[in-house]
């Protein structure tokens, strides 16, 4: 069981700050291409985590819309 952030995609606005926070924490660079979270908006808001997400919670701390919260856990 790996803890991953709890998401409410309906609140996501695609500001991409979660991707920036994730990549900065992991690589020291703001680089959405290296983020382990991916957001989209055109076909309905989506938030997805890659397999290697470490559940560090940086994305949740960066989200100003309440779309990602730290309390989730998923297998």
């Amino acid at each position: 069981m790996k803890k991953v952030p709890e998401v409410n995609a309906a609140k996501c606005t695609y500001c991409q700050d979660c991707q920036l926070a994730c990549s900065y924490y992991l690589t020291g660079r703001f680089n959405p291409a290296q983020a382990r979270i991916r957001v989209g908006w055109e076909d309905g808001a989506t938030i997805a985590f890659s397999e290697d997400c470490t559940a560090c919670g940086e994305c949740a701390r960066a989200c100003l819309y309440g779309a990602i919260r730290e309390e989730g856990s998923r297998s």
């Binding site: 606005t13 695609y14 500001c15 990549s23 660079r29 703001f30 680089n31 959405p32 291409a33 290296q34």
Partner: protein
């Protein structure tokens, strides 16, 4: 190092033109470096649609590093609608992708023999064939290029209006954010440049990570702790309804539209039921200002399109042009977006043409037999004609200059414009605040954004003073701004608003009031220093903002513009028809203003900048102080 690529579409060459960081200290990046490049790349007197005109794209200097509201791409060129040089601004993710690709600025000149698009990837710019895209609309083009390169790619594209060299054209970023009112679409179209795609995978890092946290952290906390913010996001852009709708005017700036009637037709409740689908934010924006629209019923049911400042679009299509309910307003907006046509310019010109027709100044002979009515069918048909440059549409598509050139006489007398650009705010309705005044003196044409936003709608003097202090207006200027006989000298105040606007456009931070309120001049200097590694004190940043605005002014002085062109629209000296009583031009305290007052306020504006008052242009001494003698 400032990373610059220069593309010549005629010779199909791409050269690196990197500059040292000392230019960053002087011009701050973004709009500032764009203008410095424009000084060398846009020849004096050039035809905007000639291959020699340059288009310069720049990412704001702190974009891409999760700085709140920092997402702006700036585009500088000479515009066909006005013949002025100016800088357009858009959000979404284009500037971020430029930064992550390792590019700060992209200058494009020449003319490709066939349609092309530019692909910005990591440290590289490629010229790619766009033959199959020519004739496709903005949405189709964006979808195609994202499918081809990456769903994460950001796309700046033109539609048919740009391809057909319409002066009312612009470009669209990621389908949502418009840029380049005044004919950027036509300038790109003249170069056979259909789109620019940006896709970076290298990322960016602040030069001083510790300084970055210390500088950005407090701004982010201010935003997080600002309790109305999430309610704003929930309400979306319609939270500004009363402010926007109170300014609705139609019939060529002669009649105010009643607020109660506008609210009944298009107010927030109607909007939520009939048009709202959702909202989308620009990169790192905590406010989510862009709207996703969907028609609920009728012949266009299911149609999805996008808009920033949607109440303004209601004013354009619903109020000015009288197209009807939300389904038709959204349909007109969709056509404008897909064609890369400026909704504000097009609706202003159509409203003007309808008014001229109603007065029998334009006749069926002029319209090619088309009977002009304030209804959806007529307006949609006129839009199609403008986009295709067909019949009367060809004349309208060239803006006020086109109409005056074709019809002269009474048309010229009734044309309300600023440097031949339509404007958005009428001081008779709101009082002459800095946003209204800024339109008159903006070197590019009737754009209000450089006037800030806090002073709109007759704010108390205390609020104006707080704004001035926050944005770094020197204490020595306060006695000049807040002084008799007006109590608030809007001309002098606007001069300082322009400096703030200028430096924000260099950093790439949004100037929208709801976001901008979280920043001070000191914040900007700290963030700039930490992200770029170029140390800068607040006072130096203020001077750089003044330098950049003065450079913009000088590029237009070089084109022959001066005080004679900073003209208040004649209609402002006539009463505005209203429900119960006529509205007269007043200052923001409600005191009526006449021609002599306007001259005095203009005098103060030039004087505050340190410019020559009779000519309304920078003096040699002022240019020397700012390190701009080379542009005199």
């Amino acid at each position: 190092m400032i990373r610059i690529k220069e593309v010549d579409l005629t010779s199909t060459t791409v050269l690196s033109r990197d500059r040292e960081d000392k230019s960053l200290k002087k011009y701050l990046g973004g709009a500032g470096i764009n203008l410095r490049l424009a000084r060398d790349l846009i020849p004096q007197g050039v035809d905007p649609l000639a291959p020699e005109n340059a288009v310069i794209l720049g990412a704001g200097s702190v974009v891409g590093a999760s700085v709140p509201g920092a997402n702006k791409v700036l585009v500088t060129t000479k515009y066909p609608m006005t013949g002025t040089i100016g800088t357009g601004v858009a959000g979404m993710a284009f500037a971020g992708q430029m930064k992550w690709a390792g590019l700060d600025h992209l200058a494009v000149k020449g003319r490709s023999p066939k349609p092309v698009y530019l692909l910005i990837t990591d440290d590289r710019v490629a010229i790619c064939d766009a033959s199959s895209l020519w004739g496709r609309d903005v949405y189709e083009t964006t979808d195609f290029l994202r499918k081809k390169h990456s769903p994460q790619a950001s796309v700046l594209a033109i539609g048919a209006a740009g391809e057909n060299l319409v002066s009312l054209s612009l470009a669209m970023v990621d389908k949502v954010s418009s840029i380049g009112k005044g004919g950027l679409g036509a300038v790109l179209g003249s170069k056979n440049l259909k789109a620019v795609v940006a896709l970076g995978t290298g990322g960016t890092r602040p030069a001083d990570p510790q300084g970055y946290e210390a500088a950005v952290g407090p701004v982010r906390e201010r935003i997080r702790n600002f309790s109305p913010r999430l309610q704003w996001v929930e309400e979306g852009i319609m939270r500004k309804w009363e402010y926007r709708a109170a300014g609705f005017i139609h019939k060529n700036w002669t009649r105010s539209f009643p607020l109660a009637e506008a609210t009944e037709l298009y107010g927030p409740e109607v909007y939520h039921h009939q048009a709202k689908k959702g909202r989308v934010a620009c990169l790192s924006c905590p406010i989510a200002e862009k709207e996703i629209l969907q028609v609920r019923e009728g012949p266009f049911a299911g149609m999805v399109t996008y808009a920033g400042n949607f109440p303004g679009r209601v004013g354009n299509w619903g109020i000015r042009c009288g197209v009807g309910g939300y389904d038709r307003v959204v349909k007109c907006q969709d056509l404008a977006n897909r064609s890369g046509l400026c909704a504000h310019s097009a609706s202003a010109l159509i409203d003007f043409a309808l008014e001229l027709y109603e007065q029998n100044i334009l006749t069926n002979q002029d319209t090619g037999g088309l009977e002009l009515k304030r209804d959806f069918a007529t307006v949609h048909r006129l839009l199609e004609m403008i986009i295709a440059r067909e019949g009367l549409g060809e004349v309208l598509g060239d803006g006020y200059q086109g109409l005056i050139r074709r019809f002269g006489g009474k048309v010229e007398e009734q044309a309300q414009h600023m440097k031949f650009m339509d404007f958005q705010k009428d001081a008779r309705k709101t009082g002459l605040d800095s946003t209204e005044f800024a339109q008159v003196v903006n070197p590019r044409g009737g754009r209000h954004q450089s006037g800030g936003s806090v002073s709109a709608h007759r704010q108390p003097l205390e609020v104006l003073k707080e704004y001035a202090a926050r944005t770094g207006v020197p204490a020595s200027a306060f006695p000049r701004i807040f002084a008799p006989p007006y109590g608030f000298h809007v001309g002098r105040f606007t001069a300082h608003c322009e400096v703030w606007y200028s430096l924000m456009n260099c950093l790439g931070i949004c100037t929208e009031a709801q976001l901008n309120q979280f920043y001070t001049l000191a914040d900007c200097a700290r963030i700039f220093s930490a992200v770029t590694g170029v140390p800068l004190a607040p006072e130096e940043m203020q001077s750089a903002g003044e330098r950049v605005w003065t450079l913009l002014k000088m590029l237009n002085v070089r084109e022959g513009f001066s005080r004679k062109d900073d003209r208040f629209p004649e209609c402002w000296l006539d009463p505005l028809g209203n429900e119960s009583e006529a509205l007269f031009l007043t200052d923001n305290r409600g005191n009526q203003l006449g021609e002599e007052d306007l001259r005095t306020l203009l005098d103060g504006y030039y004087e505050e900048h340190g410019w020559d008052v009779p000519q309304g242009i920078p003096t040699l001494e002022r240019l020397a102080e700012l390190g701009l003698r080379y542009v005199s």
